[in-house]
Symmetry: D3
Subunit: 250 residues, 6 copies
């Protein structure tokens, strides 16, 4: 079920048999000369919708949380970033809203490595309210990056044995190519495999990584490889949320 | 141009000839038994994309700001709301990101009446930084509700002379029907035209408006009427952003 | 009853028969060459006290909330503004204080158009606590601009058929002239009717509106006209708070 | 000069010869069975206006900051308190506004002991911005309680050798009696001199100090004594702001 | 008992017979050419540990809160300061943590005058939650500066009849000399007794007090005098926390 | 050099030849029946001081940041936690203080896994200020967990091939045993190796991990093994900060 495309009585009905919801979460940020600015929020959205296509009654997908923590990419036009503090407050409000309706398992399917620290800190901020109050938190939060779903990293390594890298990777770009073939971009990339290094502020980033990529050769991406990644990820997601829903709390 | 479906060099190129960007902004909240939860963020997104379809080189559309201020709808499952303070902080970060890249005219196309106060307060918070610093703010912000675009309210009144109401209106639902015909919902609505009244907290709201609608009869909506509204709104949007871009600052 | 001029046992006694309190709220900001900096907080204070003079047992007037959201006027000396975020936090604390004592109807009589968005956003922030908690908010908040009290706008239009404008209006200045005749200012105003335009940051404002007025000719103000406005507003206020106190919650 | 009763060109003119402004600051809180709820903001306002009456060209008085930190008095109806965090933020915005206009000496004349810690913390928060930035703060802040003006405490002790106490004191009540003789309250107070003790939360406070007073016998107050206190305080204030204005920064 | 050097079952056992805990709190800031940067957090830590050495079962000492409000010292390298707002938030979290475990008397032994306002404001912020909620706060907070423990100021005045001053005082430096004799510093101080004056931002401070001291001659310090101060303070602390634990709430 | 045991001129001198400073950062939280509550802040402090003992001129050690993010341990007495938001604000103020003095390489040596997300989010919040402002951040931040220093994890695995676990590990307890042999605790632990599982709020945690340990058998700890770990960590730290200081920014 797709939450945004449903009316409220449908969600009320859903809650009678399931307390689990999936939130695709990502970022809108530069992904090199050929990657879409929306790559990081599109990937989890695409995968969640693919899972929904496979088993519409087995998953409830919330609207996509599309702006995350991308301060280091602000040197490239089109990047939109929340400050970590704003991002954490917004995650708190999403969780307050969903838990208020009775959702007890809130699963964030993440598409951006730079989001991880802030999402985990947000979870701790949320849990802390209950911990200080000496009350049991009535819901569980889970963060999973789509590339950590069962088998996905292995597939990506097989598809791209060299030049996968860590930003503007061929795997994430392949996923968006499969979903949006009309928006495939081409460019000459030099060097073919981008440099690597630490991540700090935006100007430092642009000095280290002049075209935005880190360690990747995204020209290896293809819609076919993207389709494989989407299929495997969607299967992994369905299994993972089933396990999450079944998890017993001591 | 659709920002999220572009790569950063394309935005860099855009900025050489235009400093204007449009942000569709809405809310994810109950819209009665037949309205989609995403109605309020879908409408401006649909209209902005329709404008883009008409004149792709005349408009740059940012990703959709899809969660707004909907605290009063929290009594209905599926509603997701930011607190006004979080919402305002997030608007601030969007503006900081876009202005940092050189955008000087940031146009928010809004789909939710409940957002207006918070968006305007956010604008004042942003401007205040410059006002306290005795510096000229290097960008202009504009908020326009899609139903206030030229001619749109008149058309809606002609389409729906009675029962337009103010929440879960036939006009907004018609817009989503035109865009997502597979997601058209039906229900018996009693009374046919919903009651009206003041808006306060969520439980007060649900007591006053038991199925979520305010003053509306959304069963009058149709995809055809939605298409008319979208066309007129898209034209109005293109004209309005042209005027905004041309506005001369004293 | 005037709260600040009472001792606490008097308020305790008041609460036995009424749960309603009126908070005059405004701003301290430039009002052109002839308007007092205090105009916007004086007007609601003057009107509330006039209502009190007419019917002291029918109204409880809180102290005046005298500093509001006036960032756009900071280009003119004497303006004092809260940031919207501070303003909203302060409104929250006022409401927490008053509701804590048992007030269930808190009526803000506003004197500054620039306050409206922030006050409404503050109301939503307050209500949101209850909405997220799934509890009924034990009080109702109401915002009314004094010029929207019954008949007042009509009177002002009759008094000032041209040149009423929207800032440093002859009506608000007339109200202060009636109350503080010793503080009537004169000046040559050129043009006689000030320009109009959008409101943004402080330097933009001063460039557009060099002497601070927007669309108004305040030289038309007189203490007599102010007295008429005060009388009508005071009557309107008494009726409006009676209606508010009588409002039945579903 | 009274800022709120002036127009902006008058403040612009003032700033050509003086950079000093006085902000009366207090609290609206219970003051025992006979003290006005407004006592703590009225006293500095009364004294500042008395100073103004003596020497209108020697002092510029801002509008009164009338709600302070009174959480411990919330057990008594009519008390309105800001949280310390809100209070500090608001002081910051007042200072930003006034310093933005060119005021370099901002003098807070305080009427509430419970405000002192928060005002001092607010000053440090303001200074910290400059200290972290390694820049010289362009203005000086000063906090003076009216009872610490030259000779005032001595006079109060002479007037009220026993039962002065520390809350709802005969001296502060005398000041309000002098200014507002129509609002003098009477009550039987038992014990005649109230108990003393530590200050914590509101319910603890009400348990310790059942009628709100601490250590005081306010029945000794009289308008005549109030007039003496006002006169001496007004003189002290004029001297003190003159000294503050003349203070040379190394 | 030293909390940090205990395991949690030992604290659980402690709470069966005592609800009191002592938090040494200070600052890390310049203390002139011969004073240690850690002086202000070391002094309360040293004294609390000395009290513990005398009567290990009579006192539970929390870890030291070592960074406080020192914005005015930021002109001197090595100073680390929290903003007052951060400091207050952190105190709130400490108190929430300790009270959550059942501590009902939380005693802050302070070593830095510049902390006092912020700590008191933090206490009020904490109490305010209970005051607004109309609930009794289940714990009591107490702030005591070590130099205000019984007899300590008198001893310091006897040891240092001239040149005690108010920052980088011989008494506080003597305390650290007694505890850390290997870290005794020497320097030529000119003038021997430092100047005095008001405290504002960091650059103002450094201009007024070029070597960091205020009114003091720390060369008078000696480990022997420090030992006397520690002994007397430790005795005073033991008595004071005993009295605090025995305090009966009305 | 130990910052807190130095006077400010010594830090001024240090800054002439080095811009690097090390901040030991940890947490005060339960570590099972035999682990000290201070374990997580003691370990980095002990290691930093050991590095200082080896090469006092090669390292400047700041005072220890001893309270971190430990909300999940609040079910066990003695735990003191900051909320993630407070923790991040405090890290920001530490960095602002140190960078203000000219430190350009600020190295956090961390002792608590639960701190990592919040510290990284804090770094991003700090960098974001520069990224939004389009300015180069004048300093670099680095986070290193002591167990990730060169060779340390390998040594710990060799020392404790089974039952190392992830909380209250024998390695961290061994480090504190080496440093504080008088505070070695014993207890019967059943099961000998604690269970593992996810980390959520405090009551969930205590239900899963009844004595506080996760996956560990801390009874294997010994001061001798702790000494080995300290020595290796101290060497690794010295090398790592040397490399950090030498890092060239593009």
């Amino acid at each position: 079920m797709l939450l945004a495309y449903s009316a409220w009585p449908e969600i009320e009905a859903w809650l009678k048999h399931s307390k689990t919801v999936v939130v695709p979460i990502g970022s809108n940020e530069q992904h090199g000369p050929t990657g879409l600015l929306g790559t990081d929020w599109m990937c989890p959205e695409i995968i969640a919708q693919a899972a929904h296509d496979k088993a519409p009654d087995a998953i409830l997908v919330a609207p996509t949380f599309n702006i995350g923590m991308a301060q280091h990419h602000l040197g490239f036009p089109g990047t939109i970033s929340l400050r970590p503090s704003t991002f954490q407050a917004a995650i708190g409000d999403w969780v307050s809203s969903l838990s208020r309706h009775g959702f007890e398992r809130i699963y964030f399917l993440n598409g951006h490595g730079g989001n991880i620290a802030s999402i985990e800190a947000a979870f701790s901020e949320i849990y802390a309210e209950w911990s200080f109050a000496e009350e049991r938190c009535p819901f569980m939060l889970k963060l999973v990056n789509w590339w950590n779903l069962a088998g996905v990293e292995k597939l990506a390594n097989a598809q791209f044995p060299t030049g996968h890298g860590s930003h503007a990777t061929p795997s994430e770009i392949a996923v968006t190519q499969a979903a949006y073939p009309h928006a495939i971009k081409t460019a000459n990339l030099a060097p073919r495999i981008a440099p690597t290094g630490p991540i700090r502020d935006a100007l430092d980033y642009r000095a280290r990584f002049p075209d935005g990529r880190i360690g990747s050769d995204p020209l290896q991406a293809s819609p076919e490889k993207g389709r494989e990644l989407i299929d495997l990820s969607a299967e992994g997601l369905l299994k993972d949320i089933q396990a999450f829903a079944a998890e017993v709390q001591p």
